[in-house]
């Protein structure tokens, strides 16, 4: 029972972190000048949020490898393309 309480508390914490990262990221995007660093920060925040959903809400750490790999790859596509297209544009 004690273990289960811990697990629900972990979910609560993940939810609060997701909200904080969402609102914090949106605020930074509003006030920051366009550039590499803000693009990188937004990409990292997006990747972290995606991974939190995959690991803690979807529980894919314990799933079949094919499912886990597809979901984790999907969660990295947008963050990587954010940075890649910024670098491409700068060239």
């Amino acid at each position: 029972m004690r273990e289960k309480m811990k697990s629900t508390q972990k979910l609560d914490l993940i939810w609060l972190l997701l909200l904080a990262l969402t609102l914090g990221g949106a605020f930074m995007g509003k006030i920051a000048e366009p550039g590499f660093w803000i693009t990188l920060v937004i990409a990292v925040i997006t990747a972290i949020k995606g991974r939190m959903v995959i690991d803690y809400f979807m529980e894919l750490n314990d799933a079949a490898p094919s499912i886990r790999r597809v979901a984790k790859t999907f969660g990295m596509i947008v963050p990587l393309l954010m940075v890649a297209t910024f670098l491409w544009r700068d060239e």
């Binding site: 909200l19 925040i45 997006t46 529980e59 890649a84």
Partner: protein, 203 residues
């Protein structure tokens, strides 16, 4: 060790012991989720190709849209997804009434998403931000409308699992259908977490 392992029935759902890899829910829902991931990956590729070719439109785009509406919908999606995760934990503990309460909370929260979307689109139109605008707005409408369709399927699915629980359709030992729905809903949340920064945040 994840909370799932702690709360799950010991015989059928563990995989870290090396017995067999787990399919969460059922195979059919994962075919659907893989199709959903493929569809949105293609749309993301189109977005980034357009972004490379029209940097000015995409630089100015997020300033035109309502970041408040986008943030509200993110909060609603994440919160609804969290409520569903808590519902699963309750069902594994054979607490059906608690599970039902979490799912009803998830349904109410999820219903806020199309409502905010409707208000956002009305505001957009009043500002002259229509689908006939620049390439940023076209991709914004195309991607977010597609996501709205997926959310709508999810809301219907949520209603279905609530009715099934009401009639005693799931138990701690057998709730694959509920987990299948939850997997779809979390995947739809994950997709929104990718869409949100592209249109509302990334300068």
């Amino acid at each position: 060790m994840s909370y799932f392992e702690v709360a799950a029935p010991p015989s059928s759902e563990k995989s870290t012991s090396g017995i067999k890899p787990r399919i969460l829910g059922n195979r059919a829902i994962w075919v659907g989720i893989f199709a959903e991931f493929t569809e949105f990956t293609l749309m993301f590729l189109v977005y980034f190709v357009a972004r490379i070719n029209h940097p000015q439109d995409f630089h100015e785009g997020p300033q035109k849209l309502s970041v408040l509406a986008g943030s509200m919908n993110t909060v609603l999606m994440v919160t609804s997804s969290f409520f569903v995760a808590r519902a699963i934990v309750a069902m594994r503990a054979e607490r059906r009434e608690v599970c039902m309460r979490w799912l009803v909370a998830a349904l109410i929260t999820a219903a806020g998403y199309p409502l905010v979307k409707l208000l956002e689109i009305r505001w957009n139109v009043s500002q002259g931000l229509t689908g006939n605008g620049d390439v940023f707005l076209m991709s914004y409408y195309y991607l977010t409308f597609n996501h709205l369709v997926h959310v709508s399927w999810g809301i219907l699915g949520m209603g279905y699992v609530i009715v099934r629980i009401w009639f005693g359709g799931y138990s701690a030992a057998n709730h694959d259908g509920l987990v299948a729905f939850a997997s779809y809903w979390h995947a739809t949340d994950l997709i929104w977490l990718m869409i949100f920064p592209l249109f509302y945040v990334l300068p």
